[in-house]
Symmetry: none
Subunit: 205 residues, 4 copies
Amino acid sequence: MSRKPNTEARRAEIIRALQSVMATHGYEKATIQAIAKEAGLAPGLLHYHFKSKQEILVSLVTSLADYGQRRFEQIAGKAESPMDLLNAYLEARVGLGDGAAAEIVAAWVMIGAEAVRQAEVREVYQRAIATELELLSELLANCLRERQRVTTGSRDLAAALLAMMEGAYQLASATSGIMPVGYAAQSALRHAMLSIDAAPLATAS
Amino acid sequence: MSRKPNTEARRAEIIRALQSVMATHGYEKATIQAIAKEAGLAPGLLHYHFKSKQEILVSLVTSLADYGQRRFEQIAGKAESPMDLLNAYLEARVGLGDGAAAEIVAAWVMIGAEAVRQAEVREVYQRAIATELELLSELLANCLRERQRVTTGSRDLAAALLAMMEGAYQLASATSGIMPVGYAAQSALRHAMLSIDAAPLATAS
Amino acid sequence: MSRKPNTEARRAEIIRALQSVMATHGYEKATIQAIAKEAGLAPGLLHYHFKSKQEILVSLVTSLADYGQRRFEQIAGKAESPMDLLNAYLEARVGLGDGAAAEIVAAWVMIGAEAVRQAEVREVYQRAIATELELLSELLANCLRERQRVTTGSRDLAAALLAMMEGAYQLASATSGIMPVGYAAQSALRHAMLSIDAAPLATAS
Amino acid sequence: MSRKPNTEARRAEIIRALQSVMATHGYEKATIQAIAKEAGLAPGLLHYHFKSKQEILVSLVTSLADYGQRRFEQIAGKAESPMDLLNAYLEARVGLGDGAAAEIVAAWVMIGAEAVRQAEVREVYQRAIATELELLSELLANCLRERQRVTTGSRDLAAALLAMMEGAYQLASATSGIMPVGYAAQSALRHAMLSIDAAPLATAS
DNA sequence: AATGAATGAGCGTTCATTCAT
DNA sequence: TATGAATGAACGCTCATTCAT
């Protein structure tokens, strides 16, 4: 007899709507009214499901981080070698082709800017970045190990690749023609391979 | 009899104040009141010297682009070889150490986000990025030529390096410890050198 | 469950408040704050029900035009002869006696001035005037026909009478004693009757 | 040795500039900056020659009233009969053909609206209207006397004609095609003549 | 759960007026 | 006289948030 709570579904709709509006209008101009309209909901409902506008943003950040994780795991399922896994990761991050991806990428750029100025957003953003860094670092280390190289430089290399991907997001969103997102995957992979090959051989201890 | 115009000086002060406030609060929260306070001016005066808040932002973008240009030329003056020049460029872009640099870097990240959503900002941002790309591309081509390599990949390599630097700006501003800006210069240089060495030799035709 | 919309009622209140404030302070000085206070509403609410201040003004113009129309129809209901109808019209337009009328008249004068400088207001103002002109023209033609006169001059006469009424509004609002509004009805009627009598007889064809 | 004061010339320029700007933008939007630009003067200079913006407006009203007076006297110079004089008056008031006239007419409409809400403007506006009324009344009385009619109705008739002219200004400024200013002169003259002819004969006492 | 009206602080911008030069 | 920078109050408008229904 009790009503079935649909809070989780509603929250997801709202988060999704914020992502969509943020992609083109930024966070400040993503008004509650605009998000509600995008989601097809009454404005008042948003504050029923979320305490504040910032809470929607924070939820979006974790939501996007989770989405990236799932996407990688999905693509990685088919991979067998460490190199395949690395490739799968880069593909999951920057090898996005369709329109929905452009929205996600633009939204992520906006999130990055908000992370600079909002401590609460920064916290969850940082956590997401740190997780990425760790994952990528591990993937690179595995590649290095496979080729009998020392793994000391894997974290620095991961940071460089991460920066390249984030920068590609930015350039892809704010310019046209100069740097398509998809192109970044190749660049990153090439950089990774060059660096792996250039790494010193691990001596048997 | 008549009063001397001081518009140029005032405009510079205001632009500088916007940069400072944007670095920590973003563009939307960089209110006219806040900028005026930072500049030590009356709020109304800002609209005497600028038509709109957006005009201040656009001026800041070109101002920062010019600053980068001058900084490179200054550092490049001492350089002799193509490799030195490349190094000087990367140093000018990401080898910033002092506090003022962090402000510039953070402001540039905010500008990048605004470029996504404001056409007028995007235009001038794009122009700045294109100029950088061309310059860096030329520097890389010179390095390639010096080592008798084909220069076909120089533009793609330049784009990758540019993305890496922009991404480093973002990560440096929004996270701590993960990726210091200064570190990006080394990464970029290493990537450049690896790529140059890996480029095929130019055959005498 | 859901709340009932009350937009139409609120819009009417706001329009009414604008009319009241405009009558004594003009359009520019009829600030959103002042209108809100007059209506007993929070200032922000005005922009919830209207997109802009100008939209309130445009709504007021059509509202007043409609009111005039209704007022005429009401008075005209008792009329029987063409001359009675003409009299009813003039009465409805300028034979206003009570205090509410003075407010309407003054507001209309302000609207006239705004129509000169705001294209959007001019458009709806012009439409209202054109409707009046057509109606008055028809009423005059009927009077002329009843007396077997040619109706060729009816439109010019209508324009002259309309001008006289608008001018009476202006003089009644801006001066005291020189031209009471109510007096204009008599003048206009006299002018109409003289003109009708002076019109040439329609010859049987 | 002493500098030749040019205050009067400057004041005239400023008044003229206000008239020009008011005609299209109204009084509130006729900013000091805009008036100064129209006059080709520095903004600060306006408050050197006038105490306030309102003082410029008041000066404009008297200036326009004087201009009308001079214009009538000029045209009236050639007139011989009372009827010629009446005709000359109406011609001077509404028989304006060129472009400068449209500006004056529109400015006068704006002044009329300001007179409703500003006591100080109303005062001088009222004085101008009263002068007009007296003059027109006298002209009509002369026409009536010439035809041996009683002059009792001359003032009421004058008021009606004045209203018609003011209304014609309004309609000519805010609408197009419905009522050209120039047309009002004929209407008014016809109305005057009909009324004069209809006035009862003065009996020899 | 859901609606949509209501609130009021704060935004960018305008502008009459003042004033140092 | 003349200039143009400077001031600050007030404007129309936006918007996150609250709340009665």
